[in-house]
Amino acid sequence: MKKVMVVLFLVGILLLSACQANQPAPAPTPAPSVPGQAAASEPQPAPAAGVVKIGVIQPLSGPDGKYGEVIVPAYEYAVKQVNDAGGIQSLGGAKLELVWSDHQSSAETAISEVERLIERERVSVIAGANLSGIVLAATTATERLQVPFVVDVPAATAITERGFEYVFRTNVSGLFYGDTFAEFVNYLNEQGAGIESVAVTFRDLEFPQSVMEPVRDRSREEGLTVAYYGAYPAEAADLTTYSAQVRGTNPDVIATADNSVAFATLFTRGLNDLKVNPKMIIAANGAYEFEDWYAGVGDLKDGYLLMVQWNADVADPALAADYAQFTREPLNGHALLSMQAVYAIAEALELAGSTDPKAIRDALAVVRIEPGPRLVMPWSFLDYNEKGQNTGAQNMVVQWQDGKLVTVYPPEYATAQPIVPFNYWQR
């Protein structure tokens, strides 16, 4: 009898887990503000006259150190541009000065570094930090100490959904991927692509889920059939079986996201092994944007569509040449997003006419950048809404065609026509 009870209990757990596992995790609650603490550590204005200190927190060492290496020259380049153009006019030509800090991909380090930047270095504003998880942690400290944090690259939806007042995100949020996907599918269907069903699958982690959930939701709103929606495990898993599951639903579109190049490569190979042949395969950037992925999958990448923020074929040639000369690095999307964050800060300082963090926060809330030298991303404007999300941010869709990555959507930036349906497994 006892054994039967145990078995029943175990089966109960199994059923519960099957029902609940795919529900979204609850949104993190805002950190409670501690007024006394905030008042005690009230930051002072920058000590040196004519200088505005910007704290920049990045992964300069540790497992993600190589992303920091790409970003450092971008910040320096943007600061040089602002300073060479006469600095901040409303502050009597004050120069920008970067104070670097390394979060080593650790949330604890990020929080203590933010505290150091604000309390010891007396920075007026902080920018960073390349990784969504780190930004989620670090912004709890800036919120408490009431210093604006301008987010450069991270796209996890939660960053701007916590009701924080001192967070400003320059890049797209996860929600934008749903819109991009729906608009792109509609655009293709207007040209007669006949896309009716979609399979959405991703690695079971924060970033992939936060970009693929909106894809599922927007697909349903647009009347597409969501034939499959599921995450593959974040641990060592056999992605062949997942590919078989996707194949079983016979979708017109496979939408996917991953943040590990190795898993993305295994999934790409799995789809190929099983000869899954949808009309198109579209992935959010993240792992699929990295050189390791497209080198690792070889010819299999042909026809893959990616949702990205920038592609080399839309670069402003003058900027690309100048940037490469100054930094000895080719221009890239992460660098441009970092430069964009610096320009947003510079424009806000211009408006604020003050180095007081609160004044800068109020200026960031109203600043708007129109196309021009200070809008380096291929967007029509930059404007932070009441949540701190830049509403002007936009995704593009690019496609691997004959071994080259070309922009295919939106039409005003496109350098080639999208090839959909693509015959994936006849290469």
Binding site: A18, A21, N22, P63, A236, D238, G248, S260, V261, L266
Partner: protein, 299 residues
């Protein structure tokens, strides 16, 4: 609703599970020898597998050959690593004389050391290895069979059965069994018990020299991947009965199939719930493991 697609998927999961189970079995047999026979509370078996995978990667990067050719280098490499770790690391040399709790702490420390050495010198990035064997992949009906996985599963099962035969029918095997059954009596019969334990340690870890190159082209690996395999390994070993090699083989195959079925029919990362349930179920009905002898007394 049971459709044709569901049945195909079920068959697919079983095929993949059987083949992966073969590799888990090879891993578990080595672990079972060390745990059950040499009586060393090892927590580094997974990390040695991780090292074997990184050695395979090194061999592939250095020579550009197929990962399977790496076996020639990785097996002696692992055996040497096992020998030196047993001989010269104080943690392992004297370990068989320590109480279990102290062994465990030593082994956990050793595990962190290995993980962080790889983290320091290679980095945290996920790695995979390509093989040209994938061009021999084939379909049986609608069920896909991947060549690297078939090779890994079959070779692992053959190796496991060979090991079983060695333990059961050779003098070496008899010595190992004698040393595990009664340490004092065996040494009175002229068996060098410490040397036997070392040999078991080397055989157990040396077998990872096969598992590493077989696994590396199938799964992604990274410095802490050993923890995942260790968990599976422990479950196979306990399920099959501690020290029982045939049991570890069956345990490995059951785990492989259960994990695969769990991954397919449970959402997201909740797949491992199914093998855990099977494991708990076995413990409830047969606490000594499927092939374990009823527990009589404590050592």
């Amino acid at each position: 609703m049971i459709t044709e697609a569901t049945i195909t998927l079920l068959l697919q999961a079983i095929v993949v599970g059987l083949l992966t189970g073969g590799i888990y079995a090879l891993f578990a047999v080595g672990l079972s020898l060390i745990l059950g026979v040499a009586d060393i509370m090892t927590f580094v078996h997974g990390d040695f597998l991780m090292i074997a995978m990184y050695l395979t990667l090194a061999a592939v990067v250095a020579t550009g050959a197929e990962p399977y050719v790496g076996i020639i280098l990785v097996v002696p490499g692992m055996a040497m690593l096992a020998y030196f770790s047993f001989k010269y690391l104080p943690a392992v040399t004297k370990i068989t004389a320590f109480p279990h709790m102290r062994q465990m702490l030593y082994m956990l420390g050793f595990s962190y050391l290995l993980q962080n050495l790889i983290l320091m010198f290679v980095g945290a990035r996920h790695q995979i290895i390509s093989t040209s064997l994938t061009k021999y992949n084939f379909f049986v009906g609608d069920v896909f069979v991947s060549m690297p996985r078939l090779l890994a599963g079959v070779v692992s099962v053959i190796l496991t059965i060979t090991l079983m035969w060695v333990i059961k029918y050779t003098d070496l095997g008899r010595i190992i069994r004698a040393a595990s059954q009664d340490r004092e009596a065996a040494s009175l019969m002229g068996i060098n018990v410490d040397k036997t334990y070392m040999l078991t340690w080397i055989i157990g870890i040396g077998s990872l020299g096969f598992a590493g190159p077989l696994l590396a082209p199938i799964f992604a690996f990274y410095p802490i991947v050993g923890n995942y395999y260790l968990m599976i390994g422990f479950m196979c070993v306990v399920m099959g009965g501690l020290g029982n090699i045939g049991g570890a083989l069956i345990g490995g195959i059951i785990m492989g199939v259960a994990l695969e079925l769990g991954n397919v029919f449970l959402p997201g990362s909740s797949g491992p719930i199914l093998p855990f349930l099977v494991f708990v179920g076995v413990l409830v009905f047969k606490p000594e493991g499927i092939f374990g002898k009823p527990i009589r007394s404590k050592r």
